[in-house]
Structure formats: structure tokens, C-alpha cells
């Protein structure tokens, strides 16, 4: 063999060694209250994927306020998938960094929202402030805990649910704005995410009522005891649709597109839907939903599309810099 051939062979051997398969690692950047859901789901998905392909996949989780998490990914956090609280935060990845295609929401069923939730009230045992519905939250002396809508997806759902309730009850957008302004005057602490607000209410014992994701409220009762807290279901609430997406640019760069896509697809499987339901998320799958129907209280739900014309419009009107939320909180 000539020296040049020897060198080429050596080069090929080195390249082949370096290209040997490795364990796959994904990063799921999610919002605050999904920690428990994805701990369960990741373990099941890893087993499924190994059985299907032989590859070992480890999914790392990152949690925080949904808006904050979106910002982190835009700023370079190498998420393979995002599972955020609302579509507007996922949209931001296209708007600000073109990390995903504009029509990302059409890629998966149910507008890329594999499970839903809603907003309920968590109160202290015995409900000492007699809180029954949204209009009890604006009474003087009632201390309301909710995260900051500028950073938290859950808080935006809270805000819009209160707005729509007031608009229907009081009859105008102006009165709804006044109502929401009064509500936020009763908020003593604004955490950046839903889990922080739960900590404020449950562990730090601040406030009379926590505006919470339904799953977060159930979890608090389960973890801290039904003798300490109870859930109040308002007369009207919002259909919250947490959405999921590949982060296309990142998965292409990391070579994880196939496994990341499978990770999201599997959320819609019977097993994925079961895990969501067990973690108090409302499943999309009708069979699974029927199985867990008793678990979820009946409540009249409205959609953001019907009440606010979709997330893009709601975001711009209420939560963008200088929007209504800024106006009512700076007064």
C-alpha cells in the first residue's frame, strides 16, 4: 500500500471511530407546572424508543414561566422540543428567530395541543373568603395570587378568563378592563411562573386564592392534603391549550429531528394521553377522556379564538409592551 493510501485509510478509520453511535439526548423546554407530567412521560417514551430503534434516549427538562422559556430558546437555549403554555409563546420562536416555520401549529393534530387544561381557583380549606366565582376576586380585602402575565403563560390564561367573565357579566370591554384592573390590585405578589405562584400560596401561605392551572390545583391538593386546600370551579373558564413543537433549526443542527418528532407524536398515543390524564391534563383522545371524565369538574369553557380572535390578537392587545396589562398595572 502506498503512503498516501495508508494515510487515507488511517483518516477513514479515525472518522469511522468518531462517527460511532452515541446515546441520544433531547432537551424539552417547557412551562412551569409540567415537571411531573414530563418526568412520567420521558421514562415511558425512552422505553418505547429503545424498543423501536435500539437507541437510548435521555430527555432533559427545563421549566419556567412560558414566556421566559420562549425567550431563552430564542436567545440560544438548544431545545429540541418546546412544550409551552400557549401558542403565542411558540409563535415567538418564529417571529423573533425563525427557529420554526410559521405554520408550525398545523404539523400536529388539534393545533399542536395534545392535551388541554383550564383555570380554576385553589382556596384554603373551608374557603374563609367565600370565593365562588371571578367577581369574588375583586372584592376589597381578598388577596389573589397569580403569576405575571408578561412572563407566564398560565397568568395570561388567568387574565383572559377573568376578562371574558367580566365582559359577559358587565357587558363591555371597558368594564372588563376596569374589572381586571381591580383584580390585579388585589394581587400582592407577581411570580414569574405558575409554579412560583403555587409556592407563594401553598408553602409561603400568602393570599386567599390561587388562580391555577387545573392540573396544578389538583397536584397541590394531592401533595399537600385535601385538609388544607380545596378547589373552587368558577362558572366560566377558558379552554387552555398548551402547545408543542419541534425546534426545527436546533434538531437539524443536532441531528435529532427523527427522535424529537417521535417524542411529540407519542404524546398523542393512547399511552401518552393516559399519562397526561393521570397528571390532571385533559386528554384529547376521546376514549381516554371518557375513562377519566369523573376526574375533571364540569365547567363552561370558551376558546381564545372565539373570545379574543386568537392568540396573536390577544397577545398584541393585552400583553405586548404598552398593551392593556401594562396600562392597568402602571396606573
Amino acid at each position: 500500500m502506498k503512503p498516501k493510501s495508508l494515510l487515507l485509510a488511517a483518516l477513514a478509520a479515525v472518522l469511522a471511530t468518531a462517527a460511532a453511535a452515541k446515546d441520544i439526548e433531547l432537551l424539552n423546554v417547557s412551562y412551569d407546572p409540567t415537571r411531573e407530567l414530563y418526568v412520567d412521560y420521558n421514562a415511558v417514551f425512552a422505553k418505547y424508543w429503545q424498543a423501536k430503534t435500539g437507541d437510548k434516549v435521555t430527555v432533559k427538562q427545563s421549566h419556567g414561566g412560558s414566556g421566559k422559556q420562549a425567550r431563552a430558546v430564542i436567545d440560544g437555549l438548544a431545545a429540541d422540543v418546546i412544550t409551552l403554555a400557549l401558542a403565542a409563546d411558540v409563535d415567538a420562536l418564529y417571529d423573533n428567530a425563525k427557529l420554526i416555520p410559521q405554520d408550525w401549529q398545523k404539523r400536529l393534530s388539534n393545533n399542536s395541543a395534545p392535551y388541554t387544561s383550564t383555570i380554576v381557583f385553589l382556596v384554603r380549606k373551608g374557603n374563609p373568603q367565600k370565593i365562588k366565582d371571578w367577581d369574588d376576586l375583586v372584592k376589597p380585602g381578598v388577596s389573589v395570587i397569580t403569576p405575571n402575565p408578561k412572563t407566564s403563560g398560565g397568568a395570561r390564561w388567568n387574565y383572559l378568563a377573568a376578562w371574558e367573565f367580566a365582559k359577559r357579566k358587565l357587558g363591555s370591554e371597558a368594564k372588563a378592563q376596569e374589572f381586571v384592573a381591580r383584580l390585579f390590585k388585589n394581587v400582592p405578589v407577581l411570580d414569574s411562573g405558575a409554579r412560583g405562584s403555587t409556592t407563594t400560596f401553598v408553602q409561603r401561605e400568602v393570599g386567599d386564592v390561587l388562580l391555577a392551572w387545573e392540573n396544578e390545583a389538583f397536584l397541590a391538593v394531592k401533595e399537600f392534603g385535601a385538609d388544607k386546600f380545596e378547589i373552587v370551579v368558577p362558572s366560566l373558564s377558558i379552554l387552555a391549550e398548551p402547545t408543542v413543537s419541534l425546534v426545527d433549526k436546533n434538531v437539524k443542527k443536532k441531528g435529532t429531528e427523527a427522535v424529537a418528532k417521535a417524542y411529540l407524536d407519542y404524546l398523542y398515543s393512547d399511552e401518552g394521553q393516559e399519562i397526561a390524564a393521570r397528571n390532571y391534563y385533559r386528554p384529547r383522545n376521546e376514549t381516554v377522556a371518557a375513562k377519566y371524565a369523573a376526574q375533571f369538574p364540569k365547567v363552561e369553557l370558551f376558546t381564545i379564538d372565539a373570545a379574543f380572535g386568537g392568540w396573536t390578537k390577544a397577545q398584541k392587545t393585552h400583553f405586548a409592551d404598552g398593551g392593556i396589562f401594562d396600562q392597568i398595572t402602571t396606573k
Binding site: 503512503p3 498516501k4 494515510l7 488511517a10 483518516l11 479515525v14 472518522l15 471511530t17 468518531a18 388577596s143 400582592p188 405578589v189 411570580d191 414569574s192 412560583g196 407563594t200 409561603r204 401561605e205 400568602v206 393570599g207
Partner: protein
């Protein structure tokens, strides 16, 4: 009430209780009063808890902000800015070497070799992007014009597979690859004059087997012995005098590197080699003593006649240039244990050369010159610190007032350059020799001793003495005292090379 000062808590609680008891006392504690009091306490308790929670959130936010803030570091390794995760980093470092040279028993006709000089003055820019892409840019300001010494980009697919492209040292010589600032002596040995120095090219390299085996394999423009590729400054940017490329490779093993208890932990050995075809447009490199005096130069055509000579008469007035296959091989080792260090290497260089007429090499005879060099160098750190290939880190810094002196290291070296006598023989009928033996030696043998004083990790003062014996191809009486090299080699050279260096 974790976060409120205890004095504030006590004052609030006392005020609350005092107000409560006063009310009770004055109004005989009606049930309404008690309810109001309870509500008042509840509200105060809530206010306290809200304050505490806000403090907690502020502390969490501050901690989170600190985690994402860039990390700025200024220390004796230079100045660096790094992203929180360390994936992106920019570093600014520097190297300044101020030398003084003195030669004993100088020929009186040599008037300019006892001198102060700025040997190196470099600003070193380093950076890393996305963890695995790095760069190095090193401009040199010590020459007559600014030049770029190193400029490359490195992409690390893994530690074991990295790709480097740009201008950097070819992977052949052991001491040549060592940092300028940390070698035992102020000047490298003769071995470094027979292996390629910096060149433009691309190299695949990495560390295997837990860092115990390092390999490098590169393709370069190609340079003659001891040469750099054309300095990147002015009009000589990215010079390549021929279309052929050199292949260079090196493998270096440290089998016991990770075995802390082994007496062989500090042993490393390897082999560097390069091969290619050279056709240098200008003359070959000169060879210098360890004291940096040029003592061997191949024939160079005089300018006045070079452009007008006809081939027949050019046989006595030509420039010796590289012209054909070149290859070098260099076995090498080092051994460090505690304060003791030992480094040895050998280089064999075969280079085809020809006498070049002004415009072409047509019809020129070609001669294969085989030059050899070797060195054995040792060191001992008197103050007890560890010796090492990457230098000595003093346990204390020099501090006159504090009574600490830094570290001291004794060094010694024996090195030899053995040049092929065929350079002194006519390459063809009618030709002058490729080098004149009346003013060039055929062998240089040098003994060097020195003392390195590490005033701190970044400041070193070095005092070296080199004694060089010149082996001649003619009787000493035949050496031309009229030539610059002849004046040097007719006696042994005794050189002091001292240096004050700042490297960070």
C-alpha cells in the same frame, strides 16, 4: 418570617400584641373586638409574608440573573469574557520578550552582535464559539513590520477528532511545538532548524485513549528546513512557491499519563515526520547558533550579476534553492518527574537542492543533502515545584518586601547540528559548491547551561550561556576572515543570552 430582620419582626409583633391588649383592657374585649383584632393580626401576618416572599423572589431573580451574566476574568492568564455556560469565550493574552545578548572573544570586526533586542512582542487573541469552534490570532510586533504569527480556526467534533485550518506549526518537532514562553532555554535547539516551523494548511488531530495518545495529520503548502511559510505581512501574504504540498504527521504517546502512582507518569515519546516536494523561489534558510548568530548560508547570487549572467557563467554565481523531494523524521521524547525534566529529540532531514540561475532551474543539477541534528536537555527546579512540558508554576511570587522569591530552575543542554558535506562539493562540472566551506561550518556542537527565575506565573527572567564548537571542512587557517560567518566560526562561540519575559 425567615427573611425579615428579627428586630423588625419583634417590633411588629410587639406592636400588634400591645395594641390588642390595650384594646382588650379598655373595652373589656367584646367578641366583635376580638374578631377585629384577629383580622388585624391576619392582615399584618399577610403583609409580613408578602414582604418575605417578595424578598425571596428578588433573591431568586438575582441568582438567576447572575447565572446568565457573562463571566469576566482577569488574572495571570490574561483577560477573558465567557458566557455563563462556558460555551463562548474570548481571551486576550500577550507575550513580550526583552533580550540582551553578549558574545565573548568576539572578532573585533564584528560590531553589532552585543545588543539589546525585542525578541517577541505578541498580542494573543483566542476565542471559543459554541464550545467546539475555537480560533487563535497572534500578531507579532517585534520585527521590522507587523506580521501574523499564528492564525487558525479549530473545529472539535470530539476531543479525538478535531480539524484545524490556517497558519500554525506543522506537527513534527517536539520543542518546535512547545510554547515559546516555556521552553528550557531562551532559544530552541538545532533540531528545530531541521523541522518545519509555521505553515499554511489543514490538519486533523486529536487525543485518543483518555488523552494518552495524541495524533496529528496535516497537508501544508510546504516549507524548507527550519522555515516559516512566507510571513503574512505586506506583499508576502500566503506565500506558496510551488504547486506541491507537504504531508506532515506526528504521533505522541504518554501511556502512563493517567497513572498517578507510576514513576513513568511523566514519560512521553513519539515520532514526527513530513514529506513533500519543495521548489523554493528564494534561497534556503540559514543556520544559526544557539546564540542566534547566522553561521551557515548557502550560496546566493549577487544581485549585480544575477540578472545578467548567461547560464555558462552562472555556474559560479547562483542561489542554492530547494528543488525536489524533501522529507524529515524526528523521534522524540520527554520525561518529567517532580522537579526533574529531560527532553530529547533527533531530526533527520533530506532536502533536494539545486543551483538556480536567475530565471529558471532548467538544466541545473540536483543534490540530496542529508542534515542531522539532535539535542538532550535537562532541568531541575531548585525550589521544588514540578517541571513540565508546559512550564513551571512557581509556588510563590517574587515579593521583596514579603521575602518570597518565586521559583528557580537550572537547565542544561547538549545539541549538535551536522550538515551534509555534499554542500561543499561541486554539484556538477564547472559549478561552484552549493555552500562555501571557507566561511561555513559543517558541524555545530553546543553546550548550554542556564538559570530560569520564575518571578511569578507570568514573569520569567532567564540567563543562558552557550558554548559552541564549530566543526570545519577546511583547516582553520583557510577560513575567510573577510566574511561575516567566517569571522564567527574561526573561533568557538561563547554567548550569553538573557531575557526578561512577560507571558500571560
Amino acid at each position: 418570617m425567615r427573611n425579615l430582620p428579627s428586630a423588625v419582626r419583634t417590633a411588629l409583633a410587639t406592636a400588634t400584641l400591645f395594641a390588642g391588649f390595650s384594646t382588650l383592657h379598655a373595652a373589656e374585649a367584646s367578641s366583635d373586638d376580638i374578631a377585629a383584632l384577629r383580622d388585624q393580626i391576619r392582615q399584618l401576618d399577610q403583609k409580613l409574608k408578602v414582604l418575605e416572599r417578595k424578598q425571596e423572589i428578588a433573591a431568586d431573580d438575582a441568582a438567576a440573573a447572575a447565572k446568565t451574566a457573562p463571566k469576566i476574568t482577569v488574572n495571570d492568564k490574561g483577560f477573558s469574557i465567557a458566557s455563563t455556560d462556558g460555551a463562548n469565550q474570548l481571551k486576550l493574552r500577550g507575550l513580550v520578550q526583552a533580550d540582551a545578548r553578549a558574545f565573548l572573544h568576539n572578532d573585533p570586526a564584528i560590531t553589532n552582535n552585543n545588543t539589546f533586542l525585542l525578541r517577541r512582542a505578541r498580542v494573543i487573541f483566542e476565542g471559543t464559539f459554541n464550545k467546539n469552534i475555537s480560533f487563535l490570532l497572534v500578531p507579532e510586533f517585534a520585527g521590522s513590520a507587523p506580521t501574523v504569527v499564528d492564525a487558525y480556526v479549530n473545529y472539535a467534533l470530539t476531543p479525538s477528532l478535531q480539524l484545524r485550518a490556517g497558519r500554525f506549526r506543522e506537527p513534527v518537532g517536539l520543542e518546535q511545538l512547545q510554547s515559546d514562553a516555556v521552553a528550557f532555554f531562551n532559544e530552541r535547539s538545532y533540531v528545530s532548524q531541521l523541522v518545519p516551523n509555521r505553515d499554511l494548511g489543514v490538519q486533523l488531530w486529536g487525543e485518543l485513549l483518555d488523552g494518552t495518545l495524541t495524533y496529528a495529520l496535516g497537508v501544508f503548502n510546504g516549507v524548507p528546513d527550519g522555515n516559516n511559510n512566507g510571513a503574512i505581512s505586506g506583499t508576502t501574504v500566503n506565500a506558496d512557491s510551488d504547486k506541491d504540498k507537504d504531508l506532515a504527521a506526528r504521533i505522541f504517546a504518554q501511556p502512563w499519563k493517567n497513572d498517578g502512582g507510576s514513576p513513568l507518569q511523566g514519560l512521553g515519546f513519539g515520532l514526527g515526520a513530513s514529506t513533500g516536494r519543495e521548489k523554493s523561489g528564494s534561497g534556503l534558510a540559514s543556520y544559526k547558533t544557539d546564540g542566534q548568530q547566522t553561521v551557515f548560508s548557502y550560496a546566493t547570487a549577487t544581485a549585480a550579476t544575477a540578472t545578467t549572467l548567461a547560464p555558462a557563467t552562472s555556474k559560479t554565481n547562483f542561489t542554492t534553492v530547494a528543488n525536489g523531494k524533501t522529507w524529515r523524521v524526528s523521534p522524540q521524547f520527554y520525561y518529567y518527574r517532580g522537579s526533574f525534566g529531560l527532553l530529547g529529540e533527533y531530526a533527520f532531514s533530506s532536502v533536494h537542492v539545486s543551483p538556480q540561475f536567475p530565471a529558471s532551474l532548467a538544466g541545473s543539477p540536483t543534490v540530496a543533502l542529508k542534515n542531522k541534528a539532535w539535542q538532550l536537555a535537562t532541568s531541575y527546579v531548585l525550589t521544588g515545584e514540578d517541571a513540565g512540558y508546559t512550564g513551571v508554576v512557581p509556588a510563590t511570587n517574587f515579593d521583596w518586601a514579603g521575602g518570597s522569591w518565586g521559583a528557580f530552575e537550572l537547565v542544561a543542554r547538549y545539541d549538535v547540528l551536522d550538515l551534509d558535506n555534499k554542500a561543499f562539493v561541486t554539484p556538477g562540472a564547472g559549478y561552484s559548491p552549493l555552500a562555501n566551506n571557507a566561511n561555513n561550518p559543517t558541524k555545530l556542537t553546543t553546550v548550554g547551561v542556564g538559570l530560569n527565575w520564575y518571578l511569578s506565573k507570568s514573569v520569567r527572567a532567564s540567563f543562558d550561556f552557550f558554548h559552541t564548537d564549530f566543526g570545519l571542512n577546511v583547516p582553520a587557517s583557510a577560513i575567510l576572515s573577510t566574511s561575516s560567518t567566517g569571522r564567527i566560526i574561526k573561533n568557538d562561540e561563547n554567548a550569553f543570552v538573557t531575557r526578561l519575559q512577560v507571558a500571560f
